[in-house]
């Protein structure tokens, strides 16, 4: 397939704050192919989260386009963007953003309760058609090692368990691409390593993903590493595939 899964062209984002404008992204070109794992490095404040939000349909670019399977995401109407967020991308936030009132299981399931159920299965979907959302959520939580924490509220989960729930939620609707924003940023080395192992596993299974990080260990797992500097992406020297 020649068409990339997710693609950004000349992407720009400028914030207006108190009459001054702050250029955070300035002509970013970026692609992710099916099954590819791309790591984005960059210093704090360099615009990594901003880029990820734009890729995930959470924000609006001030310049450029984001294409998902060739379709211009921000040219779609609002409901279609909602659907894009709901079905095509999975998000794992830096702060995880689990809903505090819901149990781990409910937090994972809610992704399937928002929006209409998917009517067509995509290639590479290993789940059987008969799996109910509940069973799928339970399976995902078991998969991330939380099979015995289904009823726990986020507040009752440990620091290493929360990102796992967030990852399970991000995978719930079997997204084409998983966008994770510093998933190990708040974790100690050991827990961080085990979460990373989970991403590695998912990647081996063919899950396309974009990992934002400033952690070299994360970067090493990626097929490709890019660095965000001065609002633009540069291929990182010495990484596995140093071409954009």
């Amino acid at each position: 397939m020649s068409e990339p899964l997710l693609e950004a062209n000349g992407l720009g984002r400028t914030f207006r704050e108190g009459g001054r404008s702050l250029v955070v992204l300035d002509g970013v070109d970026f692609t992710v192919d099916d099954g590819e794992c791309v790591a984005i490095l960059g210093r704090s404040g360099s615009g990594k989260s901003t880029l990820l939000h734009l890729l995930g349909g959470l924000d609006r670019p001030t310049a450029g386009v984001v294409r998902f399977r060739g379709r211009d995401v921000y040219a779609m109407n609002e409901l279609a963007i909602d659907r894009y967020r709901n079905r095509d991308v999975g998000f794992v936030f830096q702060q995880y953003h689990l809903l505090p009132e819901l149990s781990a299981l409910e937090n994972v399931r809610i992704a399937s309760q928002i929006g209409r159920p998917r009517h067509r299965k995509r290639d590479g979907d290993t789940e059987t058609r008969s799996t109910s959302p509940r069973e799928r959520a339970e399976a995902l939580l078991a998969r991330v090692g939380l099979g015995d924490r289904l009823r726990h509220k986020p507040s009752k989960l440990s620091g290493g368990e929360r990102p796992r729930v967030a990852i399970a939620r991000g995978l719930m609707h079997d997204p084409a691409v998983l966008l994770a924003d510093e998933p190990t940023g708040n974790l100690d080395a050991d827990t961080g390593a085990s979460v990373l192992e989970l991403f590695a596993e998912l990647h081996r299974e063919g899950q396309a993903m974009v990992l934002v990080t400033h952690d070299q260990n994360v970067a090493q797992q990626a097929d490709r590493v890019v660095t965000l500097v001065g609002g633009m992406l540069a291929p990182t020297p010495g990484s596995a595939a140093a071409t954009v």
């Binding site: 936030f93 953003h97 009132e101 819901l102 409910e106 992704a111 309760q113």
Partner: protein, 559 residues
């Protein structure tokens, strides 16, 4: 789907919705209680106001000159679909004599059966048949009316009189307004004591007749002894303190409004023969009281019926050649002042209602706004997971709806309980507040004292909850047990408490109703509950819009 789940979670997990629902509950309950009590009060006033006027009154314009042909008139009126009953009556001024001298009264000559059909006179009787029968028998056994302790009634009362409550040779019977006889007084509980009543006693009534042409002076005042057969209570003090009811025929004779016969034609002045005995003056009344058919009033106003009756009366009088002017009034026309006050109250209630609703809306809106702020990041999360703006707005509107429904239901239940048991609550407050308050103060005071101490000690000992629980429980018990002991074993203590601390929400001695009038009107309650739900949803609209207007990123970045 996720909306319902989240609404249920939000309702259960947070204190804020509890407060919002409580606010709705209290507002709803308050409005329903106020409306029910005021409505009950107004209903009772209206009912009282109708007690002597029925729905409509046809009244002679020139008072005591009255009008003839009233039997034909009532018959004609009763042929109308709109009229249920029509009964003739006379209203006149009079004087009655009790110990404290002559008292001016309004004398109503009525057909008791007819009046009963119009206004349910029997239901307004103060004394039961048994009481009256016992008293009558007692008087008969004594050979007439002579009762100790009624010297205050004056000479006329102490006279032994044969008991003949009819209109015949003996003494005609009369009903007094319950406040007419000075011996009757309302007790603490608002009732009257039969032993004080003047039933079976007699009094003298003086009225001044007016000639057919409406002139005074040529006739002497008429006096007659009447026997009190019962008292009646309309509920309007003005009516009950100065009204005497007696048989129409008796009053007609006293006022010379009865049928007069005379010889018409050439009468030989020497022999007194010749001529023809004829009615020279027909019997007259000065009012006809009308009860309007109830189903008619479902579709038409009383004013419309009044105007129609007016036409019928005019036509009938033209037909029979009566030319005395009459006018037709509704009971509201007759009690203009009272109705003015009633109307005023209604306006006041509506105003209060609007204020309270506004308070409810603001409360809900504020609570919601706080909730939305608190939930901003969750909203961002939901949007990131694909929830639409509409979905978020619906979530919070549904939340408002849920709070409104819960609050309104609880409020309606609370109000229904309070209104149903209002008089019991009043009785409790008036009679048992002392002991209850005493015990409650001991219990709550002990708990608060213990909790305060617990906070201090627990803070120092770093075991807050434990100390607070233990000390609050212990001190509450330590105060409550001796307090209960005092109430149970120290004689007279409980009574003293109850008499010292009592809260009289309703004083039946002041008001003329012996119970707090209150009724629950299904339609009113339904509308108020609906209003509460709508208010809650309205209160949630702005926060819901705010919540849904945010971009996902903005919401996610919210701190």
């Amino acid at each position: 789907m996720y909306k319902l789940l989240l609404i249920l979670k939000y309702l259960r997990r947070k204190l804020a919705p509890l407060f919002a629902a409580l606010a709705v509950t209290l507002c709803t309950a308050m409005v329903i209680i106020v409306i029910s009590v005021m409505g009950g009060f107004l209903d009772m006033l209206k009912d009282s106001a109708k007690s002597i006027t029925g729905d409509l009154v046809i009244e002679a314009a020139f008072g005591l000159r009255g009008f003839p042909a009233y039997d034909g008139l009532t018959q004609r009126l009763e042929t109308m679909d709109e009229v249920a009953v029509a009964t003739p009556a006379i209203r006149s001024m009079g004087l009655i004599n009790f110990a404290n001298g002559p008292t001016p009264v309004l004398v109503h000559g009525i057909d008791f059966a007819g009046m009963d059909a119009v206004i349910g006179l029997q239901d307004r009787a103060v004394w039961g048949e048994q009481d009256v029968a016992d008293r009558t028998q007692l008087i008969e056994e004594m050979g007439g009316y002579e009762r100790q302790g009624l010297e205050r009634g004056g000479e006329a009362m102490r006279e032994a009189l044969p008991v003949d409550p009819g209109e015949g040779n003996g003494v005609a019977g009369a009903w007094l307004g319950v406040e007419v006889f000075p011996g009757n007084y309302r007790q603490d509980d608002g009732t009257y004591d039969f032993d004080n009543s003047f039933v079976g006693g007699s009094f003298t009534l003086t009225v001044v007749p007016v000639s057919e042409r409406g002139t005074l002076g040529s006739v002497e005042p008429a006096r007659q002894t009447l026997l009190v057969r019962n008292d009646f209570k309309s509920g309007l003090y003005d009516v009950d303190s100065q009204t005497v009811l007696l048989p129409l025929g008796v009053l007609q004779r006293m006022l010379r409004m009865d049928e007069r016969m005379g010889f018409v034609g050439d009468v030989d002045p020497d022999t007194g023969e010749g001529g023809e005995l004829q009615v020279v003056a027909p019997a007259r009344v000065n009012r006809v009281v009308v009860k309007v058919d109830e189903t008619t009033l479902d579709t038409r106003t009383l004013e419309e019926v009044r105007d129609q009756v007016d036409t019928v009366v005019g036509a009938y009088f033209d037909e029979v050649g009566v030319n005395q002017p009459v006018y037709v009034d509704t009971w509201e026309d007759q009690h203009g002042q009272l109705i003015g006050a009633v109307q005023n109250e209604k306006g006041l209630i509506t105003f209060l209602f609007i204020v309270i609703s506004a308070v409810a809306v603001v409360m809900v809106a504020t609570t919601f706004y706080m909730t939305v702020l608190e939930k901003t990041r969750d909203i961002g999360t939901l949007r990131a997971l694909g929830a639409s703006r509409l979905g978020i707005a619906a979530l919070f509107l549904g939340y408002g709806l849920a709070i409104g429904v819960v609050g309104a239901a609880a409020g309606t239940g609370l109000a229904a309980a309070v209104v149903t048991y209002l008089n019991e609550i009043q009785a409790f407050l008036a009679s048992a507040l002392g002991v209850t308050g005493w015990l409650a103060v001991a219990l709550v005071g002990g708990a608060v004292l213990g909790a305060t101490l617990g906070v201090v000690i627990g803070f120092i000992r770093r075991h807050l909850l434990w100390w607070v629980t233990v000390l609050a429980g212990t001190l509450a018990a330590a105060l409550f047990v001796p307090a209960l002991g005092l109430v149970l074993f120290k004689t007279g203590f409980a009574e003293q408490l109850n008499t010292t601390f009592s809260f009289q929400m309703w004083d039946p001695q002041t008001y003329f109703f012996d119970t707090i009038p209150a009724r629950l009107d299904g339609l009113e309650v339904g509308l108020i509950a609906l209003g509460a739900v709508v208010s809650s949803v309205l209160g949630a609209v702005v926060p819901a819009l705010v919540a849904s207007a945010q971009d996902p990123v903005e919401a996610l970045r919210y701190e």
